[in-house]
């Protein structure tokens, strides 16, 4: 299915958020996620189903003031 990840369209075979992160190469990376603008805690990733057209944000530590 097609979902948007960090603003870019991806074709994924994964159907859950946890599997999508693996497929996208995030694996065990220290990231947080928001699906359709709602925070999804890490423990909920495996049970969060994705649907066509979802918007996923994957964020990581970055420089800040």
């Amino acid at each position: 299915m097609q979902i948007t990840v960090n603003g870019t369209t991806h074709d994924l075979s994964a159907t859950t958020l946890a599997d999508a992160l693996k497929e996208l190469g995030y694996g065990d990376a220290r990231v947080a996620t928001a699906l359709n603008e709602a925070f999804i805690p890490a423990p909920s990733r495996a049970t969060t189903e994705l649907t066509q057209g979802d918007r996923l944000e994957v964020v990581a530590p970055m420089q800040g003031g």
């Binding site: 220290r30 990231v31 947080a32 925070f39 890490a42 990581a60 530590p61 970055m62 800040g64």
Partner: protein
């Protein structure tokens, strides 16, 4: 003064952005022994840049204060705070809800609302606010136990634009930890903030954009500590007229 139960080893909170390189940033932290490092969250790139940055931050060994920089709405700030709590494994959040693009001044109404939502959810909120007493009062009522008024607009280096307001804030809330966040450009600004009785300073650009960030970081912490010592030493009251310090009595009669 404790920040949510934590005593800082020195009054410098230092940002991690805008340095010429990660190595120079690390040098600035090492030179200043800054107590707290502010960080942010951004979209992770394909090269895993965030993972590399996380390793550098861990190696600094400082306390970590994630921010919600760039957020303009309550929802955006609250969602970002939740993501930050998970990624950085801390309840601390430097809550920024920006109200104006040019001045980057906080939207204090949205800020208060977001602060209430987050404190009720167990966050320990460090709100980037103005020096307005009523705003301060509302933030405290919302559950904040620290206030971080601006000295001047973020990145401006203008110093303390409203010293009277900051002094007034200190006087009205003697038991609340207060941090001047934003606007500090020189060590003299840092010293002045601490002379007013503030408990810490938070800055980034003044160090990161200095020609020699490590030396400037050290200068900032030295100035802040000097100002802090001066405040606790109870400075003299200024006066308009001169007052001789050398005794007048006993001066030889030589005319």
């Amino acid at each position: 003064m404790k920040f949510y139960g934590t005593t800082l080893p020195n009054p410098l909170m230092l940002g991690t952005a805008l340095y010429p390189s990660p190595a120079i940033m690390a040098e600035a932290f090492k030179a200043s022994k800054a107590a707290v490092a502010t960080v942010s969250l951004r979209r992770e790139g394909s090269g895993g840049e965030g993972q590399a940055f996380w390793q550098i931050i861990k190696d600094l060994g400082t306390l970590i204060l994630p921010n919600t920089a760039g957020c303009h709405t309550v929802k955006e700030a609250v969602t970002t705070a939740h993501m930050a709590r998970e990624v950085f494994d801390t309840k601390w959040i430097k809550l920024e809800v920006i109200g104006h693009t040019d001045t980057l001044q906080p939207d204090v109404f949205a800020l208060t609302e977001a602060a209430k939502v987050l404190t009720e959810d167990g966050f320990q909120v460090f709100p980037y606010c103005t020096e307005d007493l009523i705003v301060a009062d509302k933030l405290l009522n919302a559950g904040c136990e620290v206030l971080m008024p601006w000295g001047a607009p973020i990145g401006s280096g203008l110093g303390l634009n409203n010293e009277h307001g900051l002094r007034s804030l200190r006087a009205h809330f003697p038991d609340v930890p207060l941090v001047v966040d934003a606007g500090i450009g020189l060590p003299s600004h840092a010293a002045r903030a601490m002379e007013l009785g503030f408990d810490a300073i938070l800055l980034n650009t003044a160090v990161a954009k200095a020609g020699d960030p490590a030396t400037m970081a050290k200068a900032m912490v030295m100035a802040a500590e000097a100002g802090q010592a001066a405040y606790t030493a109870d400075p003299m009251e200024p006066r308009d007229m001169a007052a001789p310090s050398t005794p007048v009595i006993g001066k030889a009669f030589l005319t």
